[in-house]
């Protein structure tokens, strides 16, 4: 019962994060809203249930590490970090403004951010390095790397995939935000990545496919219990780009679209309704 309540709370939390995303994107006329909305539930599962982090001590050596390899989907990341208390939410008022440290991709000046990203196909290699260091130092932290599906066309992802299984990095978890769209259109029409499960499995990973908007299912898939000894874990999170806002869902236009005042109002109304779901 307690768990069910918590799951509902997380669902509500995700709606609140989406509301924050819409606000900062509308205010700044910047950001990548589609991918931010598709990854929101993944971030909520990680930061509110799965990962060990201490917002008051972001560099705590025992923390789990998170790398946003799809660095452009920064809006959701900022909103989650702010909500968790890594920094004051008011600081996000400067998002994308001249001289702000809250730029359009993650950077290490932001408390809680582990690595500067933005160039695609880098995050998994960095995650391999962090996981290797954990093994060398016999620490039990885990490393989570969130990748986009369009990003998987980068060859460096597969260099890292090979190394992770070669070094038996069972402390490394890769997550693919499989929303099926990239800036030019459908991934399968731009550069096909299917059969995706088979690809990762053949690279030696422990693969599972999960509904990327089902927070309890995500928490379960990401939990340490699902780890397989000596294998890195890869979760294909099936998501909807623009999730939660009817007119944005599955429309590549909203990869980095900017809302009109009417669209903003409609988005807020839809999300406010989701937040009213009783516990």
């Amino acid at each position: 019962m307690e768990n069910m309540d918590y799951d509902k709370k997380l669902t509500k939390k995700a709606a609140k994060i989406r509301r924050d995303i819409v606000d900062i994107v509308y205010r700044s006329s910047a950001g990548h809203i589609g991918g931010s909305l598709s990854e929101t539930d993944i971030l909520v599962a990680l930061y509110y249930k799965v990962m060990r982090v201490d917002p008051g001590n972001p560099d705590w050596p025992g923390r789990d590490r998170f790398i946003l390899s799809k660095g452009h989907s920064i809006d959701a990341y900022y909103c989650v970090l702010a909500d968790k208390g890594f920094f004051d939410k008011k600081e996000l008022l400067t998002y994308s403004q001249f001289g702000s440290k809250f730029i359009g991709h993650p950077n290490r000046h932001i408390p809680g951010v582990e690595m500067n990203t933005g160039a695609l196909g880098h995050g998994l290699s960095v995650g391999v390095g962090m996981a290797l260091a954990g093994k060398m130092d016999k620490k039990d932290y885990r490393v989570f790397v969130l990748m986009g599906d369009g990003e998987l066309a980068e060859g460096s992802v597969w260099e890292a995939a090979m190394a992770a299984s070669f070094y038996q990095l069972d402390n490394l978890v890769g997550i693919v935000d499989r929303n099926g769209l990239q800036i030019s259109g459908k991934t399968e029409e731009v550069m096909a990545i299917e059969p995706l499960e088979d690809k990762w499995r053949s690279f030696g990973w422990n693969v599972s496919v999960v509904d990327g908007h089902d927070i309890p299912a995500l928490c379960e898939a990401l939990s340490e219990n699902r780890k397989v000894q000596s294998k890195p874990t890869l979760i294909i999170a099936e998501t909807v780009k623009g999730k939660g806002i009817s007119f944005m869902e599955n429309n590549p236009k909203w990869h980095h679209g900017v809302m009109s005042p009417e669209e903003y109002k409609k988005a807020c109304e839809e999300l406010d309704r989701m937040m009213e779901v009783p516990l």
Binding site: V126, L132, S156, M162
Partner: protein, 316 residues
């Protein structure tokens, strides 16, 4: 003639330090042989990581290790390490400010006969345009030792460029004051200055001896650290000698000569000559043959010096 090559010295130095400092990690991309890192891999298997032939991955992994408190040294051929993984160097190392040391081995025209794919004559141009990366090139085995020790102490991104073959000694021992970013005047003079680094330091010194026979007093400066440049030393050389020649095992475009010229023209313009590899695929051959072909020999540097001094005295 010295038969110990610089990369061997780097390996031995790291082995000596790695015993006490367990955070030192060496990474190779199927390059432990060519980087002379096999002894390190054998002695410290737990501080050694093999990535296979995957330069993008090796730099990303090194950045992840550094972000977790390790001190990674990536030893891989300079041509691939700097060009193939340029974006990882830019984002994961420079921009993320990770304590990654890149050891570019067999740099310049070391792999002479293997052709342009294996030459690295653009690495300085590329890396010096990326903020936050220290670039150091030792002139001989003694300096290789001191530079390696300094790099271990330096916390932040760094690139050390190493040739493949043993080079003649420039120094008598490693007992001298070596500081990153501080150039060393090896020979004083007031007729002109040759500013150089790495394997061409010895050629410049030999040229200065020849020049002395014809009454030219050539100052020879070993600019072992290319970034940050010792600007003060360059300006002083321009003021006191009135003419500057740079010599580099690198493309003459956007490289070391260009870096020195940026300082000279903005502070104390004097006639300059930039010697190096022209803007073309370098001719294949042994280092000495290739250098001589492009005029980097003691004899030719002498005649270039005479022309330069002429410009200094009589104008262009």
């Amino acid at each position: 003639m010295n038969t110990i090559h610089n990369r061997q010295v780097v390996c031995e130095t790291l082995m000596g330090l790695a015993k006490k400092d367990r955070d030192i990690v060496v990474l190779c991309s199927d390059s432990r042989g060519s980087a002379s890192m096999k002894p390190f891999a054998d002695q410290y298997p737990e501080q050694f990581i093999e990535t296979g032939i995957a330069e993008q991955n090796i730099v990303g992994i090194a950045a992840g290790l550094a972000a977790s408190g390790k001190k990674p040294f990536v030893a891989s051929p300079a041509c691939f390490l700097t060009a193939r993984s340029a974006e990882q160097i830019k984002v994961d190392v420079s921009y993320s400010n990770t304590n990654v040391k890149l050891l570019g081995i067999s740099a310049g025209i070391s792999y002479g006969a293997l052709g342009m794919s294996h030459h690295s004559l653009q690495d300085i141009a590329l890396l010096r345009a990326i903020p936050n990366i220290l670039i150091v090139v030792p002139a001989d085995r003694f300096e290789a030792k001191l530079a390696t020790e300094a790099l271990v102490r330096h916390c932040g991104p760094g690139y050390m460029r190493l040739g493949r073959n043993p080079v003649e000694d420039v120094y008598a021992s490693a007992d001298y004051d070596f500081q990153l970013g501080k150039a060393i005047t090896l020979r004083d003079g007031d007729s002109l200055s040759i500013i150089t680094f790495g394997e061409t330091v010895k050629i410049a010194l030999d040229a200065a001896v020849l020049m002395a026979n014809s009454g030219i007093n050539c100052r020879v400066i070993n600019m072992h650290t290319i970034k940050p440049l010792d600007e003060e030393c360059i300006i002083k050389a321009a003021r006191e000698t009135g003419a500057i020649m740079t010599v580099e095992e690198h493309s003459v475009l956007s490289g070391f000569g260009a870096a020195v010229a940026e300082v000279v023209v903005q502070n104390c313009p004097v006639p300059m000559k930039i010697m190096g590899i022209p803007d073309e695929p370098a001719i294949p051959g042994k280092s000495k043959e290739v250098f001589a072909y492009y005029g980097i020999s003691p004899e030719n540097l002498c005649s270039e010096a005479e022309k330069l001094i002429n410009k200094k005295r009589n104008g262009w």
